[in-house]
Structures are given as C-alpha cells and as structure tokens.
C-alpha cells in the first residue's frame, strides 16, 4: 500500500509533539536535573523546525510504501497489546496458550484455509514450544512469571 505523506513534515511534527510532551512537566525540577534534558529539548525543537522548513522547500520522498496487508498489520499490533493485557489478567501460561494458538491459526490462514484436523495436529507442537520456554524461564532462570488471578 502506498500512502501520500511528506516524510520530512511528518518527522518534524513528530519531533515537536514529542518535545512538547516532555516540555510541560519540566517545571519545578532542580537545576542539576533539568540542565541536560532542557538542552536536548531545545536541540530537538530546532531540528524539527529545520525538517519542517525542508518539507516545504526541498522535500524528500512524498510517499510511504507499506508492503503487505494493512489489516494484518493492525491486527498484529492489537494482538500484541491484547497479549500483554491478557497476561496481567489470566497469568502468563493461560494467556500465552490462547493468544499463541490464535495467532498461529490467523497467520496460517494467509496461505489457505486451515482444516480442523491440521489445527488439532498443531496442539502438541504449540504445547511443546510454550512448555519449553515456560519451564526454561521459571525453573532454570528462576523467573517468577505473572500468574494473574490464579495467584
């Protein structure tokens, strides 16, 4: 997919936005804490303005090219955040089993329909994949993974 977008303008605006986000909470900080971030904030604003000026005088590429399906891109982003939320709610193991399996199914469908029999065949593979990493982290590396409501 190709979007019409002046990338210089977009970068400049993003820089200004980011600087503004940090510019306002800077009040009330001691001299030693603010001296460095303030200098960088000023530089950020200058660079952003330069980019915006460049956007109107001699812009670089005016289009952005995204390979592949926009819908799958959006779904992937949503799935990642949903996974994070589910871990807090259901605990790592359950959340990962559900999201992992769902994601495998969703991605495999790109290549063609997935019959139920194939799905069933994948159950042990997914179980082993998750099990190995789960055990490696909890048993060998002694990491206490979130257990959600089951704690």
């Amino acid at each position: 997919m190709t979007l019409r977008l002046n990338t210089d303008l977009a970068s400049g605006l993003f820089g200004l936005l980011f600087a503004a986000l940090l510019w306002f909470p800077r009040e009330g900080m001691g001299r030693l804490s603010i001296i460095f971030p303030r200098a960088i904030l000023v530089i950020t604003v200058v660079i952003s303005l330069a980019l915006i000026i460049k956007a109107f005088t001699k812009p670089a590429a005016r289009e952005v090219h995204i390979e592949g399906s926009m819908r799958r891109l959006a779904v992937m982003v949503v799935v990642l955040f949903a996974w994070w939320y589910a871990i807090g709610l259901l605990g790592f193991l359950l959340a990962t089993v559900i999201v992992f399996f769902g994601l495998v199914w969703y991605l495999a469908r790109i290549e063609g329909p997935v019959p139920a029999r194939r799905l069933a065949q994948w159950v042990p593979i997914v179980a082993v994949l998750i099990g190995v990493f789960y055990l490696a982290f909890t048993q060998v590396l002694n990491v206490r993974l979130p257990s959600g409501i089951w704690s």
Partner: protein, 319 residues
C-alpha cells in the same frame, strides 16, 4: 484491576488463615520463598543475598529464590511490593536505610511509604568512609577540614548517588565541621575507584568496603561508625576525631505489614543464624554485622528520620 484482584485474593487467603491457624502456620515454610532485591545484580545487596541464599535454604528447608526488580534506586521494587505482595511469608524484599527514609521525603510520589511494611531485621551496616587518593595532600581529616575552611566549595567529594547514605554523610560533615564542600554524585559504587585513583575528585564518601578494597591505592581518613571497623583497624572513627558523624547504609529485609508474627519470628531467627555463618566471609570485606529486630528497628528508623529530615529538607530547598 489487577491490584483489586490481588487484594481480594489476599484477603481471602487471610480469612482462610484465620479460620485454621494451626494448619496454616504449623509447617511454615512449605513452599519456595521469593527474595526480591530491588537493585541490579552485582551490587552489595545482591552479593549479600547470594551469600545468604544457601544458608537460608538449609535453615528453612525450602528453596529461596533471589530475583531482581531494579529501578529508581529501589523505589520501583518497593512500591510494587507494598502494593502487591501478600502477607504469607513467601514474599520478602531487601530494604535499605537511608533509601527508604530519603526517597519518600525527596520525591513527590515515590510510590511507597517508609513504614508501610514489617521489617524483619537489619542484618548488617556498611559505615561511611572518607577516602582520598594516595598522593592526596590530605594526610588526615583535619588537613581536609582546614583546607575546606580556607577554600569554600573547592574540595570535591564524590559518592554514590544523590540523597544516599554517602550524600547524607557528606552533608553531615559540612554541618559538623562547618565547612562548604562540593558533593559530586556518581551512579553506584562502580565508578568511584576510578574517580579517586584518577584524581577527578579530592576524595570520596563511600562505604567501608571500598576502603578495604582500595587499601593499596588510597588512604582512608575516617569511618562513620561507633567503633572502629574490624577490617580497617588503623582508621579512626569520626567520633574519635571529634565529629559526631555515625551513619552509612543499613541493609535488611521486609515482609508485608500483616504477616503473622510466627512467620516473622521464624525469618528473624533464620537471618540471625545465617549472619553468624557468613560473618567470617563478610567481615573481612568491611561489613559490620548486626541483628536489629522488632522495636529496635522502629527506634533506628525514627532516630535516623529525625536526623535526616532537616538535612534533606534544607538540601531540597537549596536545589
């Protein structure tokens, strides 16, 4: 959301515990205990926990898992612990003075309170030590004080962190000796040996351990303990030299506030025994082993709080 759920489960298990106290506590501990260190691996707190781990496991008869939750000079781990940990005795966290006193005073929202838990014990302290380079013109503390009186702000003292034990030590020296020095915070103890040996600062305020470690390359002018530190028998205390400065870092462990007394006592005992076993290894490094429990904990915290509060508030106003 998550918080509410854990609270709910927590109170449920409390109810269960109240219902059948005999069964619930008779066999504590029966599952692995999590021992959280709110600092990066490799620091003094972590090294101590590693020392303790095998002994605690032997004494308590269950696994003790040390894990790390670093960030914000300990504050991230502490705030999470006070919000989420359950009073079952299976979760404990390392706590340090003066951090837990200074951060809630100095920060708008440190996320935790100095008193909102049950401190099991403070198992050791590391007194502050004033260390200068080997080729420094300051042969004694008096030399340094003298020079600082004549040249305000010219003496630079490095140390680990801001509003840390080191920083508070330097501020107290300023008050006691009526001098004006410049304190330069470094991140952690790691960069300090280089700062001393390279002469980037006039001296450093750090812990007795570094004094022991750097015996060959530097000179320790004084230590801030009541009595001389066993590992540094030739170094005078500030008190001997006429400055009433006693302080440093205390390290200990805490459990959530409502943890039953039986469990706390059991842990106290385990840590006391562990201390005896590891003293042989830790004392030569410059640690001073202690066993501060129960009312003594509150006493020390109150005492240090009233000592540090005015200094901290003045420092905050000056910033």
């Amino acid at each position: 959301m998550k918080l509410a759920t854990t609270r709910w489960v927590g109170s449920l298990s409390m109810l269960a515990a109240l219902g059948m106290p005999g069964i619930a506590f008779a066999e504590y501990p029966e599952q692995p205990i999590t021992y959280t260190i709110p600092f990066d691996p490799g620091g003094e707190s972590d090294v101590t926990a590693r020392f303790q781990e095998p002994h605690l496991e032997e004494i308590l008869g269950v696994d003790v898992n040390v894990n790390h939750r670093p960030g914000g000079g300990g504050a991230v781990g502490w705030s999470e612990f006070q919000n989420n940990a359950e009073p079952t005795g299976y979760e404990m966290i390392g706590v340090n003075i003066p951090h837990i006193i200074a951060q809630p005073i100095m920060r708008e929202n440190a996320g935790y309170e100095t008193d909102n838990w049950k401190i099991v014990t403070f198992f050791h302290t590391t007194p502050n030590a004033l260390i200068v380079p080997k080729d420094s013109p300051f042969e004694s503390l008096d030399d340094l004080v003298q020079y600082a009186k004549e040249n305000p702000q010219a003496v630079t003292l490095g140390g680990s962190g801001t509003f840390s034990a080191n920083h508070l030590g330097a501020l107290r020296l300023e008050r006691e000796a009526d001098i004006d020095v410049t304190y330069i915070p470094f991140t952690g103890t790691g960069p300090l040996p280089a700062a001393v040996q390279g002469g980037h600062v006039s001296g450093i305020f750090n812990y007795s351990m570094l004094g022991v470690q750097m015996q060959d390359n530097a000179r320790v002018l004084a230590v801030a303990s009541e009595e001389r530190v066993p590992a540094l028998p030739d170094v005078p205390t500030f008190k001997e030299l006429g400055y009433d400065i006693v302080g440093g870092a205390y390290r200990g462990v805490a459990v959530p506030k409502d943890t039953p007394d039986e469990i706390v006592n059991k842990l106290e005992e385990a840590f006391a025994q562990t201390n005896q076993r590891i003293a042989e290894k830790q004392e030569p490094l410059g640690f001073v082993m202690t066993d501060i429990t129960d009312e003594e904990v509150d006493k020390i915290i109150q005492q240090l709080k009233s000592a540090y509060q005015p200094i901290l508030e003045e420092a905050k106003a000056n910033q």
